[in-house]
């Protein structure tokens, strides 16, 4: 697999560390249902059969966390953007 790093160009995925689902959002720790919300955030996953937005860290390159959009059925990668752009925009899934 080759991940199109926005900083480094297409690089083999061995250079990256996989983290997982990029669509979950850390809940507020002060809300009354915080424990339930954190349970969902930490433990449950859509685990889609198809497009998956996921976090990869370019450990062997720019040290950027990327949100990669990839199809779990065939590993086809649609694109990769810096995670900070996605999360700064406050974009939800």
């Amino acid at each position: 697999m080759r991940i199109p790093c926005p900083h480094c160009g297409p690089r083999t995925h061995e250079e990256f560390t996989y983290y997982g689902d990029a669509t979950v959002r850390r809940p507020s720790s002060s809300s009354p249902d915080a424990v339930a919300a954190f349970y969902d955030y930490v433990y449950t996953r859509d685990n889609p059969f198809g497009l998956h937005r996921e976090l990869w860290f370019h450990q062997g390159g720019c040290h950027e966390w990327l949100v990669v959009e990839r199809d779990t059925r065939n590993h086809a990668i649609k694109g990769a953007v810096p995670a900070r752009d996605v999360f700064k925009a406050g974009e939800s899934k």
Binding site: H13, Y39, R45, D46, N74
Partner: protein
Amino acid sequence: MASRYSIFSLLRESLRGHRGWTPAWRDPEPRPAYDFIVVGGGGHGLATAYYLAKNHGARNVAVLEKGYIGGGNVGRNTTIIRSNYLMPGNIPFYEHSLKLWEGLEQDINYNAMISQRGVLNLFHNDSQRDQCVRRGNAMHLHGVDGELLNREQVRKLLPMADFDNARFPIMGGLMQRRGGTVRHDAVAWGFARAADSLGVDIIQNCEVIGIRQDDNGVMGVETTRGFIASRRIGMACAGNTSRVASLAGLRLPIESHLLQAFVSEGLKPLVPCVITFGAGHFYISQSDKGGLVFGGSIDMYNSYAQRGNLPVVEEVCEEGVALFPCLSRVRMLRSWGGIMDMSMDGSPIIDRTAVDGLYLNAGWCYGGFKATPASGWCFAHLLATDQPHDVARAYRLDRFATGRLIDENGSGAHPNRH
């Protein structure tokens, strides 16, 4: 009724051109309704159906398989059985499984070539040794066999291992002699044949595409072969668990990941038992046919593709050659991939779900094969009685919420690290 297998029936048939064998299982049309439906015709699903019929007298049971039976992980694993676990929730279950393996062939009248050749976990430093001792002692406290081998004992067993030029020298190993290997396909076929002979309908090419519910819970499944009604439905779908569960609106603590496995060309006997390499993630054994069967880590990214990429292939070979330098000229014949239902603590789930009558058997990570008989046994118990079986009591779905996790290697909620 299927013909009984024995040397006598084999001799008899050999004299008449093997024309008298009956099919190992029927190919029935689905009935409109069943008392129990098991979704998934893999090892766990078929074992569940068998024990539902055998232990609980259920006679109206269907196994629904979207492809052909035994086509998933039961036919794609590295065939290892063992009960050398660490955590209290795990040992009794896997030991129950090992005991079932020990009597399985006579029970189901099918030779699955269960071979208790031993499973040896190598350790390479003091801290790994202490972990092996902790685990070995936990096994002993459960009445499970285990032996600590020192370096010289390991050397005697594995003279071809690298003792002189190794980056991580072998210090010793934890041996479970009752562990070993099984001919994996035969497990699916043997359970299928035995279940079929007790009246279980095994329905292949029948994919579940919907789960119908009413106020009382689950009503049945929509399939590619029409609606089939049942008030007790068990999901044993391994890597496809999340997909099937989502049909009932469930979101689970599971990710699907890809595990590759490998076999070498056939060789005369070389590797005497199952061996795991402690300085990485590598396991190897030799099949009766002579192929070295080996594997390593999962590919690390979510996948349903049943095929992997080169980095893991190379890493696994690096570890194999580091352990046994003579493997360098042995050729890898074939690689393949399976989809693992990786749970958030690395341990399985056998439990009810939020939908009444819909039960879950999942989260086997890449340890599902050895669990096959006990998983079927316990899941059948749950389906039949609505109560968890004693040895599977820890495998509750709510443990992720409560924090009663069964995290064997302490990796936390990262499915790809278990």
